[in-house]
Symmetry: none
Subunit: 197 residues, 2 copies
DNA sequence: CGTCCGCTTGACTCAGATCAAACTTGGTGG
DNA sequence: CCACCAAGTTTGATCTGAGTCAAGCGGACG
């Protein structure tokens, strides 16, 4: 998956380990961006607060994912990072990384690759969040999670977390799921969902 | 806009122009990924087919957007690209780009920075589209367009296009604008908007 | 064994979608 | 230079569906 993690391990750059409890904050909006993180284990949420107090999950970072890539080129973080479950991360000082990247184009290319993946993920999310109907949005979310050629997928995290990720209330998500199952478009047992033909 | 586009223009790498009719396919899933594209004019859809036969639009690429960045790092395209309206694109051979990136860490860093910018822009868009109230969403859109320290901005394109971009109907946008002007939050003449203090 | 949290469903409300219609603007061609 | 057409803009009336509030169930965990 993310060869960034292994790439970082191979570099001289040392990563400091840090453990987080559920709900613990790794960094907050406005903090000086001095580190880039790799999720070793667990799950972290990148969140932003809207003016009206609502919180939006911008990204769900899982084991192997990098966190706050954009902060490499930004003086401060522009969102909060919070552990959803007990998690461990590796922290790499931004300056060391930038030095390594500037010194070795091959390293830079690896980073580019990881960034490109992020862009794709985010585009998918923009597209998803723009779908107005809750039913269609949930269905699109599921479809995007089913590996090509397969029919089944397991949602990781709770449906409530999914709701936050796709910009719906959890009630709307549950109703959409119930509706889709009623129509026979999907079958579901807990977090395992199967697309109907 | 997309500094990737201007970055590409600045490189020695030449871009081949290509015109597409509505419905014409630029590339299909599984094709060998040999080029990265920049949309010069028009609108292209990136689509994927789900297991249940449905078509999923992953992204709508407009003028200035790059297409298939991820393909730089993948041997084949993983979605279809189709022109929605008459469009023109610039095609950059992947090998030339990769050579330029690998050969010069400074170029690589420029790309990285541009990609990081893309990521931030996209995160901002996700956040914007998630704002539920039409009034607040339009206001946030305007605020994001006003240069720091200034009060005025000119929207490029029509308000109708803005509506599509931020996931509202054009009626909702016009009403939101009228409401904001009524409240005295903004002043507006055509496409020029001034924020009230 | 009790508490917390995810899950689920119901009733009600309201903002934005939808449908409709008129006015304005800009550009094109005769 | 003007007639005309297309597209954007504006406003009104109605409807729909997601948000909100509320309440109950069940499993996980200390």
């Amino acid at each position: 998956m993310s060869d960034i993690a292994s790439l970082l391990r191979a570099l001289e750059v040392g990563g400091a380990r840090r453990a987080l409890d559920p709900g613990e904050m790794l960094f907050a909006t406005g903090d000086r961006a001095e580190r880039l993180y790799v999720v070793d284990d667990g799950r972290l949420l990148l969140r932003r607060h809207a003016a009206d107090g609502a919180t939006l999950t911008l990204h769900v970072a899982r084991a192997g994912n990098t966190l706050a890539e954009a902060s490499l080129f930004s003086p401060s973080y522009h969102c909060d990072a919070i552990a959803e479950i007990p998690s461990r991360v590796l922290a790499y000082p931004k300056h060391d990384l930038l030095r390594a990247i500037r010194g070795d184009a091959a390293v830079a290319v690896k980073f580019l690759s990881a960034f490109a993946g992020q862009i794709q993920t985010l585009r998918g999310q923009v597209q998803l969040v723009t779908i107005r109907s809750a039913r269609d949005r949930v269905l699109a979310y599921i479809r995007a999670r089913v590996p090509p050629g397969r029919r089944r997928t397991e949602i990781d995290g709770s449906w409530k977390a999914v709701a936050a990720e796709i910009g719906l209330t959890h009630e709307a998500v549950y109703r959409a799921l119930a509706g889709l199952e009623g129509e026979g478009r999907i079958r579901r047992r807990g977090r395992v969902v199967t697309l109907a033909r």
